[in-house]
Amino acid sequence: MDISPTTLLVLALLGYIAGGLAGLAFCRHEKLANFCSFGCGTLAALCGTVACIMSLATGATTVASLQLQLLPTLIPYVQFTISLDPLSAFFGLLVSLLSFALSLYSLGYARGFYGRKNVGVLGAFFNLLLLATTLVVMADNAFFFLMVWEIMALSAYCLVSFEHEKPETRDAGVLYFVMSHIGTGCIMLGFLLLFQATGGYDFAGFHALSAKPEWLASGSRNAAFLLFLAGFGIKAGIVPLHTWLPAAHPVAPSNVSAFMSGVLIKTGIYGLTRVFFYFLGTPPMWWGVTVLTIGTISAVLGVLYALMQHDLKRLLAYHSIENIGIILMGFGASLMFLNTGHPLLATLALIAGLYHTINHAVFKGLLFLGAGAVLHATHTRDMEQMGGLAKQMPQTAFCFLIGAVAISALPPLNGFVSEWLTYQSLLQGFGSTDSLLRLMFPIGGALLALTSALAAACFVKAFGITFLAQPRSEPAAQAHEVPLTMLLGQGVLVAACVFLGLFPTFFLRVLDPLTQLLTGLQISQQLTLANGLVLSGVNQAGGTVSTLGIAVLGVALLFVPFALWLVLGQKTKTRVGPTWDCGLKGLTPRMEYTATGFSKPIRMIFKALFRPRREVQREYDFSPYFATSIRFEAHVEEVFETRIYRPLQRLVLRLSRRMRALQAGSLQAYLIYIFITLLLLLLFAL
């Protein structure tokens, strides 16, 4: 038989379903449940990956298209259709690839729950989440899209509150679901506006809309833009709609938080891409400006807050905000170029955004898996308790380091490539318009530079404090390398990082049908030089880079130090000795630099933003210089939470309590309500 993407896709979906059912079926015997559900998940994800790659490789605009006849069409507008156009295929690839790595990883990670929690339920919800997410990016019909979108949110909620015994987990879960549902409300309204204009729910109709002049002129188009931006923005975690993200990601089981940070928020990006570049038609200038601004703000604030965290997973969560910002910078620039009529640049910027999307999915997934491994080994997320893990768990340390280098946008790995593309589009964009707006591009570039430099600082801290130096606690000292499946899961993503980093030009070809669909251009040839070894800007003079070349030459240059060593220092020996301790009785872990200490200079520099508070209590016997005990407490204010969300919540609750006075319990009052209603109606309705 021939393997068509469609068959594989169906296989994948069935696989997820089977995995979920298996999880429920065997929820009494955890080993079996673990094996079956996550095993099915792994295989299904593999099928999905292959299917998406195949359909992207063939490059047709719509490869697979399924009709699921769940409900008869007697319910108006309900129809369930899946189609695999290049955009869906691209995001489907992202989803399936991550799902593959994560399911593999989960096989090992879930063992941590044996005896504590029901692994079968975990597997079931996990597969449900995978299924829903896959369907979200492939839905071809807004009704179906909204449906699977909600199922996705629901299963994610169940997974976030999987360890619901902890109160903070419950709160985080509720916060996530509430915000996500508000987002869904916005998205629903947006789609309803489109529906109002077309009279149908299928995406093809919406796309056709983007050609209609009367629609382009209508105000509801702008309304739809804002609604979608807010709705999908909440899911993607843009500032200031991000508060759920650092709350929910840390408390979830690590394989789930990896999925949420790597994939779930990308569904928001998918929605934005689908809507902005496929439905809404040529954008007015202010759309691009808005998106670019939001992107820049999210990037900078995200990384700044990340620096202040010492909970490893929380830190990573904030970095997701940062990277979403970077993606949106690309999108915003692209929208602006579309407005000023530079499709080529628009395509470049769009590619930059999409490339960063998949990159972030890969390395953020990797980092969360690493964090999960650390959690698995040390049972803590607090970096101040870690240290020295590079010796106990070298493989994990290596994987994490790769991820750290990649996310800090350092050559030759993938983060660098996509940020390079972003820089290129921003710089080329300067010439695209004469208005003052063009200053946004270089300023944005500079802030992007700030962002990536801060990210580098943050990951020096994350990796250095977690994996290097002496263990800061007993568990960290007792830590052990994680089981093979978990390492394999990370390995897959490491490989992806390296491939995306070293062979960008090969990957860009895959994007051609996608850009063809969205902006009508295929520019991978223009971006490719020296038969694929070199990546170039839209015009070669604009600048070129070759991560592969850098890597190769770097290895080659290793010859130099070795030569020097051979010539001058063969006879030298290497001794292991104590670290210089200023003549004290040896260094203890308590003398090491802490995570908090590491980020202190930044905290001081940006104190206007962080408003740091510190409480120091020192108790001493005779002189303050010989304190017997010192208690130090430092807090950083999270502005949006304390200034916007909390007051809002308090306000709503207070008003609701006021309302309760209406139901005061007195029959007379109730009668009076009815009486007054009656009188009013008699007076006015007649």
Partner: protein, 227 residues
Amino acid sequence: MNPAVSTPIPTEIGSQIIMLLAALMLVLQLLLVVQRMLLTNIRLFALQSLMLSAIATVVAYYYNATHVYIVAGLTLVGKVIFLPWLLNRLVRRINIVQEIEPLFNAPTSMLICGGLTLLGYLVARPFTTLHKLGNNTLAIAITLLLTGFFLMINRRKAISQVLALLTIENGVMLAAVALTTYGMPLVVELGIFFDVMVAVMVLGILVYRIRESFASMDTGKLDQLKG
């Protein structure tokens, strides 16, 4: 319009009689509002019901419609004799004499009732043109309804609230009899009648239970369920 069959007494007079009786019902209603003694209230209610059945008789006479006679009879038996008797027993059984302070004092209630009457006529004005026997009883019916409603709000004792409900019922029946020629279909009339009976019984049961578990008839005490 002119009645179905010609009768010795001309229609106008019948119309006058009906209006008169209806007005009397209204007056009784107002008395009910100001009167606090429960037993007196019950008697007033009985009297009102009597007026009602009288009206029914007149209507029946003019259209010599048998089933309206039946209605008149039922009203007489039920509302004039049986219910008052039942309520009397209730009041004696749980010996409470009078309504302690209603929500509004007498003058205020009178003012309010005046306003309500005005409203009733206001609402009913467009329909007084219907050339029909007892055409503008609608105004009185509405007024009875509203004042009964107000009475219900104004009183605290369970019994007097039941009474108020019954006066509302009277207003409705007035409309049913006088406004709609020939009254409603018999089956409906019967249904309504028995419903009212059963309702009063159920209310009686409840009043007993409340009485024995609250040791009071004051529905003002029933305010535990909030929010």
